[in-house]
């Protein structure tokens, strides 16, 4: 199962979803993406949500390093292969996670 957890207060989830859909299509997969909106600190705690967007494949976070961040309604930090910071995961990160 592919889950995308997001917080509406961060503008990055539509871009993350589009990238995820693109990578899935390129891999010839038609998995459904289960969207979950996180709306409160309590919910963030309960769902172990370290920030928006969080993408899990069969329960495993695509970015193990950031997965254990403090549960919070915030924008999540990702790092691109060249070290730059990004509010969305890299294509490469998604390809590895889905491969």
């Amino acid at each position: 199962m592919i889950e995308l957890l997001y917080w509406q207060g961060c503008p990055s989830h539509p871009e993350a979803k589009a990238l995820l859909e693109q990578v899935l299509a390129e891999l010839g997969r038609d998995d459904e993406i289960v969207l979950t909106e996180v709306t409160s600190d309590a919910e963030a705690e309960r769902l172990r949500f370290p920030g928006s967007p969080t993408i899990r494949i069969d329960g495993l976070d695509i970015d193990a390093m950031g997965a254990n961040g403090r549960p919070s309604l915030t924008c999540r930090i990702y790092h691109l292969p060249d070290g730059r910071v990004s509010p969305v995961p890299s294509r490469e990160q998604l390809e590895v996670a889905l491969g």
Partner: protein, 175 residues
């Protein structure tokens, strides 16, 4: 809702990472003053950080002061604490001033909504440019350097080519 173009800069007196208080009037010697709503933890801020530092260095000694302001609620977002601001300044040696708006009064007065979000004031401290630093958080995809263009225009006595853009970033974390 953000203040309108032409609005006067709101007064402030805020603690900086240098341990000193900084007031609006302290920047009177600079022709232009850019207040940039900022914080420590937002990936959009971090994505633009090198560019804001480079721009600040490019204008060092010229008629511009850039002042980053962190107004986020540190109770819910401890990574935005003043101590962490000072740590980041020590790590990165910010060329701009970095002030802590603990009461959020300045953010409210500006009507700031995002980090990063630029408010560029002219010599009379009237708002002349508001919005994004440039047109892409991806530095390799930038085609318009809005803040740079506005600064150059105002220093030359002209109108900013684009006076208002949408600031894309994290939300200001209100108490």
């Amino acid at each position: 809702m953000s203040i309108k173009l032409g609005t006067e800069a709101p007064p402030f007196e805020l603690l900086g990472v240098d341990g000193a208080d900084h007031a609006l009037d302290d920047f009177r010697d600079a022709k232009l003053l850019a207040l940039v709503q900022y914080c420590n933890h937002c990936p959009y801020v971090l994505a633009w950080e090198d560019r804001l530092m480079a721009l600040t260095r490019d204008y060092a000694g010229r008629d511009l002061r850039i002042v980053a302001v962190n107004s986020n609620d540190v109770a819910r977002y401890p990574e935005d604490s003043f101590e962490r601001m000072q740590e980041r300044d020590r790590e990165l040696d910010f060329p701009f001033d970095y002030l802590f708006d603990e009461s959020q009064a300045l953010a409210r007065a500006l009507g700031a909504e995002h980090t990063p979000e630029v408010f560029l004031f002219d010599e009379a401290r009237r708002l002349r440019y508001h919005g994004a630093i440039d047109d892409s958080r991806d530095d390799k995809a930038v085609t318009r350097r809005y803040l740079h263009e506005a600064i150059e225009a105002l220093l030359a006595g002209a109108e900013p080519p684009v006076a208002e853009t949408e600031a894309v970033g994290c939300s200001v974390k209100w108490k």
